[in-house]
Symmetry: C2
Subunit: 286 residues, 2 copies
């Protein structure tokens, strides 16, 4: 496994791979790797000749009052995970090379980045699409892998790739959960025992919503109210948003008829957790 | 010469070229090709195995009250020019394929796009950088060629490529002028005889400014005043801006000491003309 820290070295390594006709799969991460990341690496390993994991806590996707400084950084452990999962390259760029002082250029997907998480994190997705454009250009990856846990991110990145005619395939992979349902997240490390228990209410409320829909409930307002009640039964929970939206446009639906995304963000103590489910009302529509 | 109208066909043609190890030079244009474009094609021809000219009147770089509708479209003549200049591919994309109805993604170089022409054309450079990102991704060009006549555009595109780690070399080529000094532009076709005469005042004022500087004048205010007087001697001229700026940051200078760009935009009748000169006060600094 090759560890690369400079942009030029990474470009050269990738150029050599491309010249040999090898396909490249990229797993972009902010480190603190968990089983969710591992599922992405595994998928990339199956589908590509070369697997690259990038580890970079990207400052432009954090707001001024967010957790950039305390975000967990576990370099040596992460490298161990990459090694154990047969990665070929780990790209660990330096912040001052990725964003020199005179950096000025941003990539933004309008509208989609202003709803759901974009309301409380107005510059977040612009930071995500900008760093991903850079990583895609540096690695020349054929495919990039993202977890469905960050559903809005996945939808926005797909839209960016389509709109800007980028030559890369975006692959979404199922959310990986603990046995009790908690979606894996690097931010789970912030939770104390009591908060972790409240964190379970996110997935519990989503499965409840799914059951309601499968039993014929179509009124988005009713479903959201049920989710709200479940979340509010926790001692440390404070709802940021609960939304039922079209799974492409992210526009709210009043009636659950098409394929939808139910997404929510909840502050549990000082930790902001997100979770979601996609519900496909295609063939087996009620 | 191959004429390609669909994005996918263009991607496939370029992929084949790349697989053969051929280098690709792109000359992005809005058509109505003149000797300025030909100089870019010639340079691209010298430096690359494959020369691609794109012709696309890009709607996103025109403001709501600008000349998008009346911008000259001379497809057959343009194809003749490309053929005569040994181009390999002409890419003529359709507007509704480049910008489908649900298009949402933009690339923006902040600050640099808000000064000079960006003041009267606030969304212009965002449109330019967005369409160029698309064209760079579609053509996978190794090099792209731009005229120094659009100096701000050239500086902004170079910055975008650097910031987003795009794998393409941006090459600026000298402004091509008529014998009497008028910078070639597709918009010159709008000028009547009297306006064309006034158009000469742009370059006249710039050469005057250069003479002043070479004779020791360092006060940017004094130099701008001289340019202003020259432009205002025309009957149909109305100044949009006259600026003396650092040639990288585009920040105004008070004293002419570094390498600078003198740039101006003047409305001549209903036609907006721009011109500029770079002045290099390096070795032979006064």
């Amino acid at each position: 496994m090759v560890i690369v820290e400079s942009i030029n070295n990474m470009k050269n390594e990738m150029k050599t791979c491309k010249e040999k006709g090898l396909s490249i799969g990229l797993v972009p991460t902010m480190g603190c790797l968990h089983a969710g990341h591992m599922s992405l690496i595994k998928k990339a390993r199956e589908e590509n000749d070369i697997v690259v994991v990038s580890i970079f806590v990207n400052p432009t996707q954090f707001g001024p009052n967010e957790d950039f400084d305390r975000y967990p950084r576990t370099r040596e452990k992460d490298l161990e995970v990459c090694r154990a999962n047969n990665c070929d390259f780990v790209f660990l760029p330096q912040s001052d090379e990725m964003y020199p002082e005179d950096f000025l250029t941003f990539v933004e997907v309008e509208d989609l980045g202003k709803v759901l998480c974009g309301i409380s994190r107005p510059t977040h997705f612009r930071g995500v699409t900008t760093i991903l454009t850079k990583l895609f250009n540096i690695t020349k990856a054929n495919r990039a892998y993202f977890g469905q846990k960050d559903a809005q991110q996945l939808i926005i990145v797909k839209k960016m790739v389509e709109d800007l005619n980028m030559d890369i395939e975006i692959i979404g992979c199922p959310t990986v959960r603990e046995d009790d349902g908690l979606a894996l997240s690097s931010r789970n490390t912030y939770l104390n025992d009591e908060e972790r228990k409240d964190g379970l209410l996110l997935y519990k409320s989503l499965t409840l919503a799914k059951d309601l829909i499968l039993n014929g409930e179509k009124d988005a307002g009713v479903i959201k109210k049920e989710i709200e009640n479940t979340i509010n039964s926790g001692k440390n929970t404070s709802i940021d948003y609960i939304e039922i939206v079209n799974n492409k446009t992210l526009k709210p639906v009043l009636k659950v008829e098409d394929n939808i995304l139910i997404a929510l963000a909840v502050n549990v103590g000082n930790t902001r957790l997100i979770d979601n489910i996609f519900i496909d009302l295609g063939e087996e529509a009620i």
